[in-house]
Amino acid sequence: MAPHSGVRGALRRFNQFYARFLEWLLVFSVASIIPPVALQIFARFTELLPRYIWTEEASRFLLVWTVMIGAMVAIREGTHFTVDFFPNLKGRQRAAADLLAGFFVVVFALVFVWWGWEFTDSAWYRISELAELPLWTIYIAWPVAGVTFLIFMAERIWDDLAVLTGAEEPRA
């Protein structure tokens, strides 16, 4: 795809960079679930390892972030599962159908932003039960995901609009 100048090009470059960043974050978050669970298992057999109470909770919270980051990356890559009833759509028809589906994803993202923020807002002064972590550090994944969905969807919608208006050829 030819590079674009102006706002659209900047958006595309930003998204590329942001998605790369999220991918590395994903590698890190998956890897980070292993040590607490492994510690929990092996500490049972040896006095050498500390028997922490927070391992179970920490691994759960890392899972939450892993899932949310994975879901964000999947929006950019368009890999969320769909049941495609009209797989033969081409060109402008396809762009129109993608725009319609994209509209609902945007609504969903807005729900995450708005009520995800309320969710986070309810937790500023709350701490988790075991690790005594501030709960907002987990809950904020929802508004962050919502905003990320919107940024990534903007790029897709822009592309679809360009095809719909005939300004561009559809991507292969």
């Binding site: 991918e23 994903l26 590698v27 978050s29 998956v30 890897a31 679930i33 292993i34 669970v37 492994a38 929990q40 298992i41 049972r44 057999f45 179970e56 691994s59 759960r60 919270f61 899972l63 939450v64 892993t66 899932v67 949310m68 980051i69 994975g70 879901a71 964000m72 990356v73 999947a74 890559e77 890999t79 969320h80 599962f81 769909t82 049941v83 495609d84 009833f85 009209f86 797989p87 159908a97 993608d98 319609l100 589906a101 609902f104 994803v105 609504v107 969903f108 729900v111 995450f112 708005w114 009520w115 995800g116 309320e118 969710f119 987990i138 809950y139 929802w142």
Partner: protein, 439 residues
């Protein structure tokens, strides 16, 4: 504060209508499940959309679910670290001489894999990459390749270890060790049924056959596979000796697969490791994100007591154990078409339990009927994770693979019926090996 704004019927119309309507418009499954919750959450006085956020969080915030990325990671490490290659070679030495060799290997590898992994999505994802392209090159039809890869992947949750058994045992207080043993025989029978199906297809369509492996090849491939084949024994042994919980077993699978790849087969490099972690995160994100919104969807079903309304009075029909067994299977097969297996267990399993008890079904028998039916739900559209994964790797539509998938399901339904009629298929092994589990 007033009585529910929506009746159970209206809520059900919004939820199911919204879900299927949005699916039809090509909205992603996870998003459709979440958005379908929106009208009741907005209309109902007592509720508001933050519940969707809260319930997706509750859905993810589960120690048991950690088994999903772990099993996926174990699979990825096996692929990248050379374990899968050895198992493919060994599978080829066993079934390579049969018609439709590569598809037979596909099934046999799933049986081995099922003993290591408890996640069917992990199996579907890794084997789609291995087999679909390879089968295409050997002249197999795409729809057949997708269908056999998807249906063989369901073995991963029927043959122990199994994430569904871990969830079931936790939610309904049934011995997970007992469930693990109960799954062995039904799983192997389904595997055999699938191999027979492949045989018939291969004969009818003339799919290629490899030359028979020599005894030397057989032994050589067996010996290099031994460390990998040990995994199920470590996992089941670890549970029997009490080294770790069922969920922790998934972590052990990761550590073992990692150790084999790095120290024994020595095919792991840093780049491969990074890819393994990234692929794990991406697929976990996609599949578990669905579980989250499906949890919110299920929460609303429970709030309006929709499953209870649908099942009320059924217990009074006073069906015997066999009819009840078929009824339970039918309910889970239908539920499995639009709900993820984990929320389905939590919502529907608890509702069906009194009925199973009333009919005198053994808790482990009841669990196996349900788990097998839900496992089949992994390949039934519209919400069939394994089928979706295989189709997306193959780049074909779900509707294209549907016919072959349904044909392959028929003999599997036969095994399910046999399981209902013959409880010992599930209960025999637990009774012989660990009678304590059957208390």
């Amino acid at each position: 504060m007033m009585a529910s704004t929506l009746s159970a019927g209206q809520a059900a119309a919004f939820l199911f209508g919204g879900f299927f309507g949005l699916l039809f418009l090509r909205v992603p499954v996870a998003v459709a499940l979440g958005l379908a919750c929106l009208p009741p959450l907005l209309l109902e006085d007592r509720l508001w959309p933050m519940i969707m956020v809260q319930e997706t969080f509750n859905g993810f915030n589960s120690f048991i679910l950690i088994a999903v990325p772990f099993f996926l990671l174990a699979a990825n490490l096996m692929n990248i670290g050379g374990i899968t290659d050895r198992l493919v070679r060994f599978s080829r030495a066993i079934v390579g001489h049969m018609p439709g060799s590569l598809a037979q290997i596909n099934v046999v590898l799933s049986i081995f894999f099922a003993g290591i992994s408890g996640s069917s999505t992990a199996d579907a994802a890794s084997q789609s990459k291995i087999f679909i392209d390879a089968q295409r090159r050997e002249g197999y039809d795409d729809s057949f390749s997708v269908a056999i890869t998807a249906v063989s992947a369901v073995l991963a949750v029927i043959i122990p270890p199994s994430i569904l058994m871990i969830v079931w045992g936790g939610v309904l207080t049934v011995s997970i060790g007992g469930l693990f043993l109960a799954g062995v025989l039904p799983g192997l029978l389904i595997g055999v049924a699938q191999m027979a199906t492949v045989h018939v297809y291969a004969k009818a369509r003339g799919y290629p056959t490899y030359t028979r492996a020599t005894l030397k090849e057989f032994l050589a491939s067996f010996i290099v596979s031994v460390p990998a084949l040990m995994t199920p024994f470590i996992i089941i042994g670890g549970k029997i000796f009490g080294w770790f919980t069922a969920t922790e077993a998934a972590c052990i699978a990761v550590l073992y697969a990692g150790a084999l790849s790095i120290f024994v087969y020595r095919e792991m490099d840093l780049k491969g490791l990074k890819t393994a972690f990234m692929d794990t995160g991406k697929l976990s994100g996609i599949t578990l994100f669905c579980v989250g919104t499906a949890s919110a969807f299920g929460w609303l079903l429970a709030y309006y007591k929709i499953p209870e309304a649908m099942l009320s009075g059924v217990i009074a029909w006073d069906m015997g154990p066999v009819l009840t067994g078929f009824f339970i299977a039918a309910v889970f097969l239908i539920v499995g078409c639009f709900l993820d297996a984990i929320p389905a267990i939590i919502i529907v399993g608890t509702i069906l339990q009194p009925m199973a008890e009333h009919a005198g079904l053994h808790p482990i028998h009841f669990a196996m009927i349900s788990i097998m039916s839900l496992a089949f739900g992994l390949v039934t559209p519209p919400y069939g994770l394994c089928l979706m994964i295989a189709c997306s790797v193959a780049g074909i539509r779900i509707t294209d693979a549907l016919k072959d998938t349904m044909i392959m399901l028929l003999p599997m339904f036969g095994i399910l019926a046999l399981l209902i009629l013959w409880p010992d298929m599930a209960l025999l092994l637990p009774r012989l090996i660990e009678p304590d589990f059957l208390k």
